[in-house]
Symmetry: C2
Subunit: 297 residues, 2 copies
């Protein structure tokens, strides 16, 4: 199957689904000789009309008609919350096209590895993937064809995936602009993402909760604003993510707390020498971690 | 004294001092009828030559000749570390021009309020101020005439300040581009800055220290990067800031730890309902705190 000749189905037209639709339209279906299509499905109709009028979608479906869309799609992006994605796969087991590739966007992966083998038809291939892009803005209105450019993508190949389908996904996400594609197990994914994403969201939220005063930003020079951008959090989604990855996340919180205690100890004891050494180490470590991404406006 | 007719002296030509020099040159001394001057003083000579050749400075002085510069200046910005600023004020007590305004950039203020009355000559007015701008970049090379535009400035008027000198400072920082000028006591400054700035630097540093792997950014979607930008920390400076504000900072760390414990408890107990409510509250609180600043590249 060629990228530019495939029919793509997007389930859920929020910021992620919308960005997939726009990115496929702009980066893949604009190529010479392209005959592919983008079909989109969403609960509310406002963004469906918009996607069609903007030329992003060839055909649109409300959620109650998704069973008509799925048999047409070679590739399906299920852009729903984690448990809703699993429920969707169960409910629509019999509606996928034979040979279809289905993929997700979820920030937790262990639950997929565990549940998919029991749910899937043998002729449908579910590829577990995580586009590492997001932001405090939501909805189709904030989606963008360039949303994934220079972002990381984590691919979690499973023993049940077909090699050619994995190759298809690798090419697809590279065409969308993802530049650092990491392949790893679901377990490692959940451990690392528990740190880089979930722990950070817990910290940002705890920091906002510890502010005594919403007027505190009069005293801000950028640090507090940077640390709490992600505290404009989608509560139902992150509740699900935190609890689905409970054990790994709690171990990261506890490790972070230990480091915080070290800093607190040195400050309390006015131990300048240990504090300076620790901060020098922090600076070196952070510099090793590579360049700082520019935050989107 | 008119802004555009004053002679300004900058002591320490790093990113802050350099930005003051450039901002005064561009925003104040470019005005019609201006006859003011910018004099700069620094330990190393490379940036002095650069400031002169760029037309930023009218005259430059190496640190050993600062006693020749100070008697010429109506306004002096001491852009050094906190304790170095106090030492500088002691050492050069007798070198300031009669009637001079002297100001600082330090991130802790209590130590100034305490020490200045004993140090100052009666005919020199020290105005305690905090330009809330910074970044992980350092040095004159990274200074910019627009560095302060749309940033916050905290002015801490003291009983010993002259009213007309405070007015002069208010006009001066407004001309430089600071848009939100807050006036408060040194004690309130240290309490609030202990939260928005110092606590955030401690958290960012503890987060980097709890990373097991500098390759972790392969799994980053922006959150970890945002939360740890400020962990590219200047170790000697922040050691001084943390310890100078020990009591207030430790109380903020402990309050933050309590909030973190609440999140950890809900996650551990899989208490989705409490977690969702808390995160909804977090989101509302964060939204009340106003718009998110765009990070400079």
């Amino acid at each position: 199957m060629e990228l530019k000749k495939a029919t793509y189905g997007i389930v859920g037209l929020g910021i992620m689904g919308g960005s997939f639709a726009k990115s496929i339209r702009q980066n893949i279906l604009s190529q010479a000789g392209s005959s592919g299509k983008v079909l989109v499905c969403n609960r509310s109709t406002a963004c469906l009309s918009q996607a069609q009028s903007e030329g992003v979608a060839d055909q649109t479906f409300t959620s109650d008609r998704v069973a008509e869309m799925l048999p047409l799609c070679d590739v399906v992006f299920v852009c729903l919350y984690p448990h809703a994605t699993i429920d969707f796969m169960k409910e629509h087991r019999d509606h996928f096209k034979a040979g279809a590739i289905v993929t997700d966007i979820s920030g937790v992966k262990g639950i997929f590895e565990k549940s998919m083998p029991e749910i899937l038809r043998p002729d449908v291939d579910f590829i577990i993937g995580h586009p590492m892009a997001g932001g405090e803005k939501e909805g189709y209105a904030n989606s963008d064809a360039k949303f994934f450019v220079n972002h990381n993508y984590i691919l979690c190949p499973s023993s049940f995936n077909k090699a050619e389908n994995l190759d298809f996904m690798r090419s697809l996400v590279a065409e969308m602009g993802f530049t650092r594609i990491t392949e790893t197990s679901c377990d490692t994914h959940d451990y690392k993402i528990g740190f880089t994403s979930q722990l950070c969201h817990v910290i940002a939220s705890a920091l906002v909760e510890s502010a005594e005063d919403p007027e505190i930003t009069a005293f801000g020079g950028g640090s507090f604003e940077d640390l709490t951008r992600i505290a404009m959090i989608n509560a139902p989604l992150w509740t699900e993510l935190f609890i689905s990855n409970k054990e790994k996340l709690v171990s990261h919180i506890e490790n972070f707390e230990k480091q915080l205690e070290r800093f607190k100890k040195y400050i309390t004891e006015e131990d300048s020498e240990s504090l300076r050494q620790m901060l020098s180490h922090t600076r070196e470590q952070r510099l090793k971690m590579g360049s700082i991404r520019t935050v989107r406006k």
